[in-house]
Subunit: 335 residues, 2 copies
Amino acid sequence: MEMTEGKIKWVFFLFSFSMFTFCLGWWLHTCESLCSKECFLGSPDNSFTTAQDFQFNTHDTIPAATSGATEDSSDSVSPATDPFNSTLPTIFMITPTYARATQKADLTRLCQTLMHVRNLHWIIIEDSDSETPLVTRFLKRCRVKSSQLNRKTSSKLQPPKVSAKGHKNRGAEQRNVGLDWLRENYKPGDVTGVVYFGDDDNTYDIQLFEEMRYTNKVSIWPVGLAGGLKAEGPICENGRVKKWHVGWSPGRKFPVDMAAFAVNLDIILTNSKARLNPFGPGGHLEPEFLSAITTVPELEAKADDCTKVYVWHTQTGRPSLRYEDKIPTLIETKK
Amino acid sequence: MEMTEGKIKWVFFLFSFSMFTFCLGWWLHTCESLCSKECFLGSPDNSFTTAQDFQFNTHDTIPAATSGATEDSSDSVSPATDPFNSTLPTIFMITPTYARATQKADLTRLCQTLMHVRNLHWIIIEDSDSETPLVTRFLKRCRVKSSQLNRKTSSKLQPPKVSAKGHKNRGAEQRNVGLDWLRENYKPGDVTGVVYFGDDDNTYDIQLFEEMRYTNKVSIWPVGLAGGLKAEGPICENGRVKKWHVGWSPGRKFPVDMAAFAVNLDIILTNSKARLNPFGPGGHLEPEFLSAITTVPELEAKADDCTKVYVWHTQTGRPSLRYEDKIPTLIETKK
């Protein structure tokens, strides 16, 4: 074949286009690890909504709650084994969750972490039209006081199947349901407490909860593996924030991760503007929320003047389930 | 431009080739989540060997061991808070680990899980020439009885920088160091116990440890999110293995994950062939190891006749640290 100039151009174009598409394929996967969890975890293609879909799924492992668990009400509360101590502030941890292959694993290890924390009330809000049996059974067996709520993400925020790029604020509506639940169930002064937004696949050192327990207004600390840094967060001096160590979008007023702060319960109960805006620009949930309730000089520095990391923005890799449904489900042969 | 038959062929070829390269880019990332952890986690490009490299890294969070921790010896043992109960078999958990951005987060949540388990001795073997200060400090503060060992993976098994495909048996040499340590420190009959290979980023329901505690020879159970399945493992009847639910390489004699079995300590102490072969074919570490010490009919089925999942082969996503070292390290301005 004679290589005319036209053909050489074709070959060059072919090569360039191939490189572009290769990079595109690679990048679509790579960006998953940097961008915030809210923006990419939509449309769980491996999701299963009931435990029955998962052959091995049912278990009764985490020691069962001691008594009185009610599962039927959508705001049922399952009790912890250790009774609450009325002299210790309660930590209300608000955790959005959604059905996916790793959900039970993530919830299991988080439960086992929270079992070490005294006076913690875990408010779980599922992204679903109703409570899923998997989460209901899980919470019944998790020895942490909890409430199970649910709110399906509105269709405007549902990611398209192909691209999840526009889907910035996953979990915002669910966190608002948690805040509303607190406002419906408590009045200012009812109970001393603090509110924390804690996702189900982050990693928490149990010391974090003792750091946040005594928060007068809003407390703050660094978060590991967030914002493209080993640790992102405030730089503090004598208990106050002086600067920010931040790479992504440093112009934000409060350039922090959702896991970086806790708020006194009474602030939530008395300030109706303390809500997340699901329709705001991606990455600005936290600054907008904090701007409505506090100022930078007011922030209370925790974690040894913001020098220590007690929470990491980890992400559980999405597993391949390439053989699922492709081999005979032999497990069904078992009685 | 006139579309001759030749040009149409070119366009068709261009399209096909582009699709192929796109799929290749995608697949190179996707395969990471299916293939066993040993085969892909080499060459941690975000690794840091000392805690000093990580500005926020030092902390004293997990309540410190109560007394007597010795950190200087390479086989130092740090004590658990709860004294061991001599009537309860000891679980020796062998965990290979290596320096990477997520190491401390993974170890932290695993420590907090193991804190719930009685009579557990955690044997951690680092893939390094010497003990790293990060792990030494971590273990001193983790309230679990532990021993810190180390063994640098031999150069024959080091992955090349570009492709980690040939690196199948990461952790095998480290696990052998753990087995050798047991043989050096115990004689058959010294102590009732069981040996378990538990990686640092798996997820463990604490019930798993009660399942394995009473193992006469070798016990077995399913593993969640392993081998391309929601759960991979044995199908059992009346306490014995009847079949296997497996997708990848079903011809193996024991087609199971490393997290699927536990072995009575005396089997390890009396059988010098109970070792892992770092140079064997990938994915065959477990079958070769088990073949040397037991047979399928002998296996003891746990987890309610292998119907329940108490351990998941989760993987912590590698975080992007794209801004690390690219912005002023403001944290250094703090005293």
